[in-house]
């Protein structure tokens, strides 16, 4: 026990003496949290739009007005030809071109049917889908208005049967995307910091040669590993707490569930992540190698964790691979506990999986660590 105490003392001293590193551990992550949570939004506002009205009728003007008054769209140009509009799209100045064709009003009243052309810059398929949805909504809404204005006669027998659908969004009735992103980004930052610190620490001692000095002392393998891990473990748990406070104060994220449960899970999760960091450390000769391995795992883990896209829509084989992705567990659990108030029985399977992973990774790291150079 005393040996561990001394190692702890040494490690903490090393961490706090390194003045240049301290801000990266304690300040930068939180600045990132503040900035990135605001950046990661799919709430489409001010979609850039060009209106090409070729009809110049009352109806076309009314429809144009519907578009310009919508909070989703921002008119960047009007009154130019559609060729010019396409040119503008080529230059990234607009995301949507609405073309109201000639004889728009005429056709509607004579033939009962007319069309509006929407041209959407679809390089980002995700946003193109949303733009299409918003624009179509405006057009259908206007169609309904026209129908109503056409009077009772036109409406006879249109709807005989009707299913009324009411929907409610649970746990996040305002669909506030930040409530979803804060826990996610917090998990990434926590993982980034602890995995990098743990994996660079041991290999740094190797590279500097100071590992030799430790190897010749009577310190035992597990003492050494425990002594190396505990400081980062404490720092990471502290950062989680601080991040949650920030999230609560600045983004008003809900904390529905039991915080001790969240911290218990985080404690196990961090053991797994630190164990993994140490394992990388024992496998690498230089910090550069360790960093590479870190990045490789980090990027793969993050992309597959379900932070930006729902993990459920991944193909089945990828979901199987995800069983080995610790980030996916924590990402799921932190959102369940914070946003939905899930209890221990709800996350039991994740807890068990995480625990097994922690044990395996830590044992592997201890086994791989040799007291020889």
């Amino acid at each position: 026990m005393r040996t561990i105490g001394f190692i702890l003392q040494k490690e903490f001293r090393q961490i706090f003496r390194n003045r240049t590193m301290l801000p990266f551990i304690f300040v930068v992550p939180f600045i990132q949290l503040l900035i990135l949570v605001n950046a990661a939004t799919l709430d489409m506002k001010h979609i850039e739009m060009i209106l090409v009205d070729r009809d110049h009728s009352q109806l076309s003007r009314q429809l144009s007005e519907k578009f310009t008054q919508s909070p989703f769209f921002k008119l960047v140009e009007a009154g130019i030809s559609s060729e010019q509009a396409e040119e503008e799209m080529l230059r990234n100045r607009t995301d949507l071109i609405v073309v109201i064709p000639e004889h728009f009003e005429d056709r509607l009243y004579r033939e009962g049917k007319t069309s509006v052309q929407l041209q959407i810059d679809a390089i980002n398929g995700m946003t193109a889908g949303l733009i299409n949805a918003y624009a179509s909504q405006i057009i259908t809404g206007y169609n309904q208005e026209l129908l109503k204005a056409a009077g009772k006669n036109a409406l006879v027998n249109i709807v005989t049967k009707y299913i009324d659908i009411r929907y409610s969004f649970w746990y996040n009735s305002e669909l506030n995307f930040k409530h979803y992103m804060v826990p996610g980004i917090l998990v990434i930052l926590l993982t980034l910091i602890s995995m990098f610190l743990a994996s660079l620490n041991l290999v740094r001692e190797k590279e500097m040669g100071t590992i030799e000095q430790i190897n010749v002392t009577p310190i035992q393998k597990h003492h050494f590993i425990i002594g190396k891990l505990i400081p980062f473990w404490i720092i990471a748990l502290f950062e989680l707490a601080f991040g949650l406070v920030l999230g609560k104060l600045l983004f008003r994220i809900p904390i529905e569930g039991n915080l001790p449960l969240l911290f218990a899970f985080a404690a196990v999760y961090l053991i797994a992540i630190l164990g993994m960091g140490l394992l990388i450390s024992t496998l690498s000769q230089t910090q550069q190698q360790a960093m590479f391995l870190n990045f490789f795992f980090m990027i793969t883990f993050v992309l597959m964790s379900g932070i930006f896209t729902p993990a459920e829509s991944m193909p089945a084989w990828a979901q199987k691979v995800n069983i080995l992705n610790p980030l996916a567990y924590f990402m799921r659990v932190i959102r369940m506990i914070l946003l939905k108030g899930s209890t221990f029985t709800d996350i039991f399977r994740d807890f068990a999986g995480m625990f097994a992973m922690a044990v395996v990774l830590l044992s592997l790291a201890t086994w791989r660590y040799r007291k020889i150079a």
Partner: protein, 368 residues
């Protein structure tokens, strides 16, 4: 010149002697592209739902079948009371509960109006929105089927053309993004670490007392990484072209020129990072924290910049990958020429000059 070639040779040896890093260096982009292409999906598919059917008649069964046959939904369980909803949402598998009221078919037939309810787990707000609108779509299509004998007298119909990416393939978005990210990481991180490493292990002294001039030292450090980054860029383009059928609509020369410009920019950023960091850890943390997440989130790679708050939009202007991603998308996917992207190109050139200037001013021939 002879000294310089020797120095470059030394740098190459450093890299090639470490096969493990090399594997990751070239493996990372490939795996990233494949993950993005095959794994990351934004569409709704096989969402687990629960159904609370208090009516159990042909109509509700029909609607349920329509939902399950669409491929978007998968029935996880039938429940018998609204009290179960809370429980199954908390367990986290079921995303949506559909509730049919009692005597659904009868009410629809006699009164022409029946009620159903959709409860969505909105802890993931985006998917919740999509799930609800898909369900509404399926139900209203079904209602239209029931009413199909009657036609609306005035139809205003949107004709949608998805330009540049008619099939809404996600590869169009992530190939340019991944390219920016990989080049940024490889070039900036590697250079900064490699210089910081020489400082930390003390070998920088040896290089500084050699007849090499500072400019040669820096040039020698970056030459191998320029080559590696170019290989990476080519690999990503080939993967995008052959595996995901990504077109190259613009001029290949322009694309190559812009890529080399971006690689140089990333390398100069790496040099700048190394001049401000005393050891490898600091260099790595600056690279990791200051480059990875902002490249992912502030460059317009995944989240459009127009949606961000104004202050963040200003911040995005200083993120180099933003310009590169815009250029690549324009040149590769839209087929624009230099006339349309000269502004972005100029910004990258000026950034390059600024970074190099700062590095030159900060690069010290003496260590302490």
């Amino acid at each position: 010149m002879k000294e310089f070639i020797g120095f470059v040779k030394k740098e190459f040896l450093h890299i090639f002697r470490d096969p493990r890093s090399l594997v990751i260096l070239f493996g990372m982009p490939v795996i990233q592209i494949l993950i993005f292409g095959y794994v990351i999906r934004n569409e709704i598919q096989d969402v687990k739902i629960a159904i609370l059917d208090e009516s159990k008649d042909p109509v509700t069964r029909e609607i349920t079948n329509h939902m399950l046959a669409s491929g978007f939904f998968q029935l996880e369980q039938n429940i018998s009371s609204t009290e179960d909803v809370e429980k199954i949402f908390k367990r986290g598998r079921v995303r949506e509960v559909v509730i049919f009221e009692q005597n659904f078919a009868e009410k629809l037939e006699k009164e022409g109006l029946a009620h159903m309810q959709i409860l969505a787990d909105a802890s993931d707000p985006n998917s919740a929105k999509m799930i609800v609108s898909y369900t509404q779509g399926i139900v209203s299509a079904y209602v239209q089927e029931l009413n199909n004998q009657v036609k609306s007298p005035l139809i205003l119909e949107p004709r949608v053309r998805m330009i540049y990416n008619a099939d809404l393939k996600s590869a169009y978005m992530f190939v340019p993004g991944t390219m920016a990210m990989v080049l940024m990481l490889v070039s900036a991180m590697m250079t900064s670490i490699s210089i910081a490493r020489e400082k930390e292990t003390g070998t920088m002294e040896a290089i500084l007392v050699s007849p090499l001039r500072p400019i040669q030292i820096i040039a020698g450090k970056v030459t191998p990484y320029i080559l590696l980054s170019c290989i990476n860029a080519i690999m990503i383009l080939i993967l995008g072209y052959f595996v995901f059928q990504l077109p190259i609509r613009g001029s290949l020369t322009l694309l190559v020129f812009e890529t080399i410009l971006f690689i140089s920019l990333a390398l100069s950023l790496g040099i700048m990072i190394s001049t401000v960091s005393g050891n490898q850890q600091v260099a790595m943390f600056i690279s990791a924290l200051a480059l990875m997440l902002p490249t992912l989130l502030l460059s317009g790679f995944i989240f459009p910049i127009e949606n961000m708050p104004k202050i963040l939009q200003w911040l995005c202007y200083i993120i180099p990958p933003k310009y590169f991603i815009t250029i690549i998308r324009s040149v590769m996917l839209k087929g624009t020429g230099i006339l349309e992207v000269w502004k972005e190109t100029m910004v990258m050139v000026s950034m390059l000059v600024i970074f190099l200037g700062i590095s030159a001013a900060r690069f010290k021939v003496r260590l302490h």
